[in-house]
Symmetry: D2
Subunit: 92 residues, 4 copies
Amino acid sequence: MQATAELQVIPIGSGVSVRSEVKQVVNMLSEFNLTLETHASGTNIEGELDIILAATTKVHEFLHQSGVVRIVSYLKLETRTDKIPTLSGKRL
Amino acid sequence: MQATAELQVIPIGSGVSVRSEVKQVVNMLSEFNLTLETHASGTNIEGELDIILAATTKVHEFLHQSGVVRIVSYLKLETRTDKIPTLSGKRL
Amino acid sequence: MQATAELQVIPIGSGVSVRSEVKQVVNMLSEFNLTLETHASGTNIEGELDIILAATTKVHEFLHQSGVVRIVSYLKLETRTDKIPTLSGKRL
Amino acid sequence: MQATAELQVIPIGSGVSVRSEVKQVVNMLSEFNLTLETHASGTNIEGELDIILAATTKVHEFLHQSGVVRIVSYLKLETRTDKIPTLSGKRL
């Protein structure tokens, strides 16, 4: 099932700047077969729902292995049956 | 990896009341090996991250099979390595 | 305009445990003329939209004055014209 | 207090396509003294917190006046005291 999504990952307790962790997340996401659009407030994603969820799991695992103690991620998922959901179809 | 989560599912284009769809979602979630706490704005979840994500996928699949054309779900995921995350540990 | 809402506040860079900050947020919200239901993943709110937004502003101001350098808050707002939105009306 | 924000507005019960409502929201936001960056999953905003919250209220009021019965909006707010928060500062 194809989906569009938005993912924002927040490391808690890692200091005020989380830029390096966010860069790691985007690098990690780019290894999956997903279309990514990074913006100032998260990353928009298009692809198979299973892959989006597997990538999200990997992000948590990887950041914990990198030493991040606590992670909150916000994942917005959108699916529809009337047409294939795409990021380009959601732009105005 | 154990996680705590909050899931809110919004059927779009199914009418102003989404109560019956939300009830179906909670019924479906209760079939998984997860601790659930339903509140006025979503369902809090505790359990294995893999199961939480599998349940979320099932919810989308099931609602589409029930005729819902478009679904947006908001999934907040929290993991930590300093202790096992639980819903009871997050209450004040 | 009456609204229902859910507010979650995350102090960033304040350490792994954010319990004391969250308690301060709930204490502060309770000073406003709002109905509150705290749960494991945030606080559900019912009341006038203006008051909800004023309370959210106060929370940011107060936490910054308490020394929190960076704050992300997630505010879900719901309004409807067919009936008065209430938290009790949103429970299953 | 300057803030960065992300706003997503979902009309419920208005049909499967919500494109025209979303366009109205962006048009309305552009009348305020705010920096806007629209993307596939919402609108990123930079400006005074008071103006962001006033604009959000206007969006709800306006959509209801246009006939939308039920609205859920997701507003992510970010403030910090170590530097002025900007959208450009949040890009990778």
